[in-house]
Symmetry: C2
Subunit: 425 residues, 2 copies
């Protein structure tokens, strides 16, 4: 195990995520979402594609998106797909005018059948133009991701030999590529294979930045990410809501379209639980994910978006800042029996004790914090057997005070406490 302490996540929703989406996302929505991604803390964002608008109408607005996104934050890398030399011309023109990107993704497939189906071109026909793209982009100061599609298998050709990945990686590096993406384009990878492939590639190319790019077509997106992490891969692609996949630019659709990217929220959930520093706060990413669900018209594939992150008690004491307005705290349980075996308590003290106990499931509490339970109503009776499941959510904050909604129910569903409390810091 040599799991990286820190990883670099690339959020691909604005390109890989939406390229196959049946609706065109309005340009201003794309810009708004990309700017939210920047605010939330993503440091690598795939912002658009320079694919031909006739083939992929979703990206007809690529220049407008580039004009609209917030460039104040100097440490965010914007990335765009550049599928051909004409696309590079358009991008370099935008760069000159001040709204370019920092990195481009150049694309080839490890399977010639896949190239033939998508571009009607052989390796021999594709590579000269691709070499020009890499070289010209580098000359113009851009980093270049050398993407090798269908690295782990091709839906048309079947198995892909690792020798082809080695050959193409070598070739990309000779042209000047600054990193290599092994694309699991249509989700054929399995974690045993991912381990084997990355172990070999990192032995052969120890100084190269490899990018893990998995699709969840067969449900193995996170299993493959885990295997790649254990092989030391620090760059990982994902898309909010697990959206994404190869667009239906070519018919017949040979892969049936079930090709969502590995899901950002769930990947972050896993990495956070594994103690890996992603530089991102999962709660803020989940808020963004829910907003993107609204834009895309329904629940997406993020599991953590519904189930919420795993409960852990924070190591640091609760602060007012920790109580983000609108945040619902995970349900906490308090057992009356544990407390009521001591001397009887007055009803006000019971209310305070329940709220304090429920909060303490999430944080150690600051010593001086006061809990005002005046607006909290008691219903029914407690006995020693009673177990209360208590939910709290942050209603508002003012000055040094936070107001929380409280609902405390017995495990049979009866409400015991209902109302609000005020925490004074």
């Amino acid at each position: 195990m040599k799991i990286p302490k820190k990883v670099n996540i690339c959020e691909c929703w604005a390109r890989d995520g939406i390229q196959g989406h049946p609706q065109i996302i309005p340009t201003e929505k794309k810009i708004e979402i990309i700017n939210r991604m920047i605010d939330v803390g993503f440091k690598r964002i795939e912002v658009t594609s320079f694919s031909h608008p006739k083939l992929v109408p979703q990206f007809a607005d690529c220049l407008d998106v580039l004009k609209g996104i917030n460039r104040k934050n100097g440490d965010v890398a914007f990335i765009a797909i550049v599928p051909n030399e004409k696309a590079l011309d358009r991008l370099l023109d935008a760069s000159e005018k001040g709204y370019g990107v920092h990195e481009i993704t150049a694309i080839i497939s490890a399977s010639e059948d896949h190239l033939l189906a998508n571009l009607e071109m052989t390796f021999a026909e594709v590579m000269p133009g691709l070499a020009n793209i890499v070289k010209r982009a580098r000359k113009n100061g851009l980093d270049v991701i050398g993407c090798i599609g269908t690295s782990f298998g091709c839906p048309l050709a079947g198995d892909v030999p690792i020798e082809k990945l080695i050959e193409l990686t070598d070739w990309y590096l000779q042209q000047g590529a600054t990193s290599i993406m092994l694309g699991d384009t249509t989700g054929e990878a399995n974690p045993r294979q991912v381990r084997t492939v990355y172990r070999r590639m990192r032995e052969l190319f120890p100084t190269v930045d490899f990018i893990g790019h998995f699709h969840d077509t067969r449900g193995m997106g996170l299993a493959n990410t885990f295997a790649a992490l254990e092989e030391g891969v620090v760059f990982h692609d994902c898309s909010i809501g697990g959206m994404g996949g190869q667009p239906a630019t070519r018919r017949p659709k040979y892969h049936k379209g079930y090709t969502g990217n590995a899901c950002t929220e769930d990947m972050l959930g896993m990495m956070t639980e594994m103690g890996i520093d992603t530089g991102l706060d999962i709660h803020r990413v989940l808020e963004l994910a829910r907003d993107i669900e609204t834009v895309c018209g329904g629940n997406l594939r993020g599991q953590v978006t519904r189930s919420r992150p795993v409960r852990h008690r924070s190591k640091s004491v609760l602060t007012l800042e920790g109580l983000h307005v609108g945040r619902e705290l995970p349900a906490a349980l308090v057992s009356a029996g544990r407390r009521m075996s001591a001397e009887p308590m007055d009803p006000e003290a019971i209310k305070e004790w329940i709220v304090r106990d429920a909060l303490e499931k999430n944080w150690p509490l600051p010593e001086r914090m006061k809990i005002n339970t005046g607006a909290l109503e008691t219903k029914g009776e407690l006995d020693r057997k009673t177990v209360l499941v208590t939910t709290l959510s942050v209603l508002n904050k003012e000055g040094a005070k936070a107001c929380l909604n409280v609902l405390s129910q017995k495990s049979n569903g009866d409400v015991y406490l209902d109302g609000t409390v005020e925490l004074e810091f």
Copy 2:
């Protein structure tokens, strides 16, 4: 890496899968599906639960299910949940009458908060009865799975110390349990933790059969299964369609219900791709999964059910038996340029060549097999640049012949070949 060569899958749909399902599945449907599972080749099947019908109405028919299932196949282990001593009485009575099970699952949680919320009982209150269940079941010749719920974290209490798992495993073994299930009841496990926990447990209890039981609540079901596999775990639980989770027997629902089991189809897909012998044919499991989707009223969570297994060329030559009626073969691509650079071909020869090439993407073909293309219609022209994506499905078989539907399209979507072919073996 010490990934097992062979694993034992337990299919949990008929218990864990449906226990929280909003509709009661008709008894005859349950029986029909369990019998299909036996036919398909599952050797471990969780068939029902003896939970109180008032708490879990889904299992009010547990005795009828046990009476209905096919017991001819002696090597299948039937498993039932036995939550309390009264339940054991009912089961032992059924056993005497000839319709019992081979194994029972006894249940405790690693988190006392979880016990309190679900049973309103502490460890001290639960354990004496549980000890009786294990001992009495063993005395009556039954195997006992000692299930430890919330082994990887509790939605109410948060972190669960590994010491508790060790203590409970030790205790279960003393009572006579024949295997230990570490239940990730509400999906808090992450693969790094799974590796750590299973490594420690297998060091401490090297001869014990541990059962991996993960829920996909946060999308980590397969990643956790992979980690458990790499730690040598050979018993794995899963449910068709990723259905399942703790039922809403207690309110308030503190985990929001997003607790599907690791999905059978996707787990099998992963294991099959990893070269692990599961004793199951994924194509037959997928047919069953689609039928279960019909019963449950809609698409379930299996990804492979839609995307289908990864394409590999078989190592053994195509046989008539390999062409299962109704089976759609993965789309295959043939490139006209590769062939047409030789001398011109007559139209009948072109048809045969396309079908042969598409079939060869899936199997080596038997030398004597004849392809009759009389019922295959050609539309349009081919040129050297043309790439054809060809789909084949098996229409029917008679004697030594199989009839296949053929649709061969150019990559722009134009149909080139349409109709049927006859293969003569």
